[in-house]
């Protein structure tokens, strides 16, 4: 009986082969998830089109300027990035209380302008703080109404909250002041 059975193939090296393949895949592939701030660019203005912004009251515009030295000027006052979130929230969530700030979140516009010499890092920081301000207000409203975070909402509920605090971040064409 024992003489008839075929000798077993040595499978000891199988693991080595599999390891080789595994290491090849580990080296050639990426596993980093693509994460980032999603934005929508405005369409190019038509030649003859004149943008009429005289209809917007200046108190409904929150002017954020970043210069080539990465300094922040918000509503004509110097500000640190760490204060920007609270500042934006106060501006959006004013409801006409403070005559300097917005009438209501629907009318409020955040206008962001940077210099060509502004660093990308600073720009992302500012963008992040602005989105965080919107997100926190939406979260607060979503918690009050539906008892959930804004990101967890779906369909109509999400739309409703978004309508209450529409994210309006306008980016002006950058000026070249401090060189590149």
């Amino acid at each position: 009986m024992s003489r008839r059975t075929l000798p077993e193939i040595n499978a000891g090296s199988m693991a080595d082969i599999a390891f080789l393949l595994l290491i090849f895949f580990l080296v050639t592939t990426t596993m980093d998830v693509d994460t980032g701030l999603v934005r929508k660019l405005p369409a190019m203005p038509e030649e003859e089109e004149i943008i009429d912004d005289s209809q917007i009251k200046s108190k409904n515009i929150y002017v954020v300027l970043v210069n080539a030295k990465d300094q922040l000027l918000v509503e004509e006052e110097l500000m640190d990035v760490s204060q920007l979130r609270e500042g934006t929230k106060a501006f959006l969530d004013n409801w006409g209380k403070n005559p300097e700030l917005s009438d209501n979140p629907q009318k409020a516009i955040v206008s962001l302008q940077n210099d060509r010499g502004t660093s990308y890092e600073m720009y992302i920081k500012v963008q992040n703080e602005l989105s965080a301000a919107y997100r926190e207000l939406r979260d607060r409203e979503a918690q009050k109404k539906f008892g959930a975070y804004y990101a967890e909402l779906e369909g109509e509920n999400k739309k409703e909250i978004r309508k209450m605090y529409p994210s309006k971040i306008s980016e002006a064409e950058p000026k070249k002041v401090g060189g590149n």
């Binding site: 693991a15 592939t29 980032g36 701030l37 502004t118 990308y120 720009y123 992040n128």
Partner: protein, 155 residues
């Protein structure tokens, strides 16, 4: 003599390694499924900024990547130390972006075209001047959906 001793079973029997290939293959398949092949070799320095308000990109195949950063050390002598734009595998100018986006749009199925997104992977050291040029070109190319690639930071 020693041969007889062994047969009597002195030490523990050798562990069977027969299932080792199975385990390794399992790992292999896991990696094959979860990962994507590297398509471009980076020739720019690319350390991304950090942000907390981020979204994940679900379908990487709909993404066209624009890398921005200073050339890597081996390329510095030839291309200088100023941040530049990398498209696919080579340095390009901002004016090449429209063509690049059009090529990507051409290669995508009709029903997925509205979902196309442009990922700007810019180094923290890049200046906004260059990024703005890219954004203007994208507006001209009507590729309005963009994503500033960032790492996740937790507050």
């Amino acid at each position: 003599m020693s041969r007889f001793k062994k047969k009597k079973g002195g030490g523990t029997p050798a562990m069977s390694t027969a299932s080792l290939p199975d385990i390794v293959f399992m790992l292999l398949f896991f990696f094959m499924v979860t990962t994507v092949m590297r398509e471009t070799t980076l020739i720019v320095e690319n350390s991304l900024p950090k942000a907390s308000e981020i979204k994940k990109i679900e379908d990487k195949s709909l993404c066209s990547y624009i890398y921005v950063g200073a050339p890597v050390s081996g390329m510095k002598t030839k291309f200088g130390a100023e941040p530049r734009i990398q498209l696919n595998d080579s340095f390009k100018l901002a004016s090449d972006i429209q063509e690049f986006v059009a090529a990507k749009r051409e290669a995508t199925a009709e029903e997925k075209k509205p979902q196309l997104i442009t990922c700007i992977k810019a180094d923290v050291g890049a200046k906004m001047g260059l990024i703005t040029d890219i954004k203007q070109e994208l507006r001209k190319a009507q590729a309005f959906k963009i994503n500033y690639a960032t790492y996740e930071s937790f507050e």
